[in-house]
């Protein structure tokens, strides 16, 4: 018997997604890297009923920010300068996924020790609020699903995350 590791390609339990790092959710309750975008939801500072739905496209770095009632964000107003919501979204994504993973997904060249925000070229992008908001609602809907006690044998392939080291 050897103590040599087994090649990643030949491991059934090979880790694919790095564990999510814990962060406070009050300001930015939802962040995801999906559909070729960094996208998420930012709580309004002034109105508890309102959230901003913000996104940055991978590659082009196209920005979009609207309220959940589909009004354009005044800070962004169709331009290519990131509003405070997009800045918060990018910063929280870095906390959650780590700078490297966000930069790779967005295809941003981040200098050593730099932030993703400073590496974005930024342009304006079409409004994606409806898709992103429904993705957030799907996300929240998980918390409403009933618990399960039936056997789930496939979870042997999904060990609980180790500490972020």
């Amino acid at each position: 018997m050897t103590t040599d590791g087994v090649a990643y390609e030949r491991r059934s339990a090979a880790p694919v997604v790095a564990p999510t790092r814990p962060r406070k959710l009050a300001k930015v309750p939802f962040v995801e890297l999906a559909e070729g975008r960094l996208q998420g939801v930012v709580s309004s500072g002034s109105d508890i009923e309102r959230v901003y739905v913000s996104s940055v496209t991978a590659g082009e770095h196209g920005l979009s920010c609207n309220t959940n009632n589909n009004r354009p964000c005044g800070g962004l107003s169709g331009g290519s300068w990131a509003c405070k919501h997009i800045q918060a979204l990018v910063a929280e994504a870095e906390l959650q996924y780590g700078t490297e993973r966000v930069a790779r997904y967005l295809k941003a060249e981040v200098a050593d020790g730099g932030s993703v925000m400073s590496a974005l070229r930024t342009t304006s992008a079409p409004n994606r609020a409806a898709e992103v908001f429904s993705s957030f609602l799907r996300h929240l809907a998980y918390l409403e699903l009933p618990a399960s006690t039936d056997p789930l044998p496939e979870l042997q392939w999904f060990p609980a995350a180790g500490a972020v080291r």
Partner: protein, 464 residues
């Protein structure tokens, strides 16, 4: 079994050291198919076509011979249908099932354990249209290959997953597809990925396709009454699920059986670490068992032939505390092991509870004698419990699960160790009611507000 005597330890060491006959050849066939799935069935070159033909040849003379040969022929000719794909998935499952059996028998024999035989169970009710969506996505994946997965294809499972999640009877497939699709989304576009988890994704694809067939066997559970004695808790997680699975002994009359019993909750990726236990708030008796090692009396609880005791709080009464190490020392060796459900036979599903003592621990693993150093699976030491790699490496007794993933390793569920000249004991499930240690408790309190924030947001935004 307790490999305490030298003889027992050496028998286990021999079993872990020796590779069963034919294991390497079996994996060569599996890897040929996995390679084809990596590059996509739509673009098979001569070498990959040859690997599929070898696979078909290996099944000649078996009950699957005609179906595998026919399907490989059609796929090589450019026709990829659900029927052809299930034959490939069935062939792969059969090969890995054989590898599983050989590996399990060698360990069962070395440990001197008795395993129950399988009893046939009827098929579950069909879910028809729900499964068609899942099969269609899995077909597109196989045609494109992992290397061909882009954002769009990775995201294309979403609708099927939502529909499956809405039906509690389909939770098993929903949880699998959601985890698999989540990995593909995170990895897309896969063409630019340095390393592709070839074996893993072929495993998940195969399991998904098997579960997407009509007439999948039902659980066949029967009621049992007795006392449950905890051995240890294993934790499972992907972005949208958290499961605590207890390995325990159930005493019914004069029979002692090894069982698993599990509780799982849906969650989101930002709920992780010890605060994931908050999602299992509806199972106070289970958490008491995990955190306080309490015995539990169960009355008419359902037990499947595969050894899964279906947890039901209304049929459970907590009793006294019982030390899992004592339970393992006294009762584990004589316990009957459950049969393995035929479709769940896979080396990666092996998780055999063992008590290891008197080994020499180091970073390389546990030296259990006979020249064998048993690797410790540090990747399976979760952040949601008090165990750390450092405590494991300083341990002298370990209650764990023997696993096989290209080699044998032990996943610790609890250890006894000497840290700073003090005897310490740590169990993975100990934080079921929150971390005992002050620093970890503070971190959990902060992270735990994630659950509250999301519930508040859900309350405000979801029901509009």
């Amino acid at each position: 079994m307790v490999p305490r005597g030298r003889g027992g330890a050496l028998m286990l060491a021999d079993a872990l050291h020796a590779a069963p006959d034919g294991l390497a050849e079996t994996f060569t066939l599996v890897e040929g198919l996995d390679d084809a799935l990596t590059h996509g069935l739509a673009r098979l070159d001569e070498e990959r076509a040859g690997a599929l033909e070898d696979l078909a040849a290996a099944f000649s003379g078996s009950p699957l011979a005609d179906r595998v040969a026919d399907s490989v022929g059609k796929i090589l000719a450019g026709t990829v249908t659900d029927e052809h794909l299930i034959a490939l998935a069935g062939a792969r499952a059969a090969l890995l099932g054989a590898a599983h059996d050989a590996l399990l028998i060698s360990v069962d024999t070395a440990l001197g354990r008795t395993r129950a035989g399988w009893t046939a169970v009827p098929a579950a009710a069909d879910a028809g249209h729900l499964l068609a969506g899942s099969r269609s996505w899995l077909r597109e994946l196989a045609i494109a290959g992992w290397r061909g997965v882009d954002h769009e294809l990775a995201a294309a499972a979403a609708q099927s997953v939502q529909a499956l999640l809405a039906d509690p009877a389909q939770r098993r497939l929903a949880v699998l597809l959601d985890g698999f699709a989540g990995e593909l989304r995170a990895a897309a576009p896969v063409a630019t990925l340095d390393r592709v988890p070839v074996r893993r994704w072929a495993d998940l694809w195969t399991r998904g396709l098997l579960l997407s067939q009509d007439g999948y066997p039902a659980s066949g559970a029967v009621p049992v009454t007795g006392r449950l004695l905890l051995l240890g808790v294993d934790l499972h997680e992907h972005p949208t699920v958290f499961q605590a699975q207890a390995h325990a002994l159930v005493e019914t009359g004069d029979e002692v059986r090894l069982v698993r019993t599990s509780v799982a909750a849906a969650k989101v990726d930002t709920i992780t670490g010890p605060s994931a236990w908050r999602m299992l708030a509806g199972f106070p008796i289970f958490r008491l068992m995990a955190a306080g090692h309490r015995t539990v009396d169960v009355e008419d609880a359902l037990l499947t032939p595969a050894g899964d005791l279906i947890w039901d709080e209304s049929r459970a009464t907590p009793g006294e505390a019982a030390d899992p190490f004592t339970t393992a020392r006294v009762r584990l060796a004589g316990a009957t092991l459950p049969a393995v459900a035929p479709l769940d036979r896979h080396p990666a599903a092996v998780a055999t509870p063992v008590l290891l003592e008197g080994y020499a621990a180091s970073e390389a693993g546990f030296d259990i004698g006979g020249g064998v150093v048993l690797a410790v699976d540090h990747d399976r030491v979760p952040a949601a419990g008090p165990l750390t790699p450092a405590i494991v490496d300083a341990s002298h007794a370990c209650l764990g699960l023997l696993r096989w993933d290209g080699r044998w390793s032990v996943q610790p569920l609890a250890v006894q160790a000497i840290v700073k000249k003090k005897q310490v004991t740590a169990h993975v499930g100990e934080w079921a009611n929150g971390p005992a240690e002050a620093k970890a408790a503070k971190a959990e309190a902060v992270a735990g507000t994630a659950v509250d924030v999301l519930r508040e947001r859900a309350g405000r935004l979801l029901r509009k």
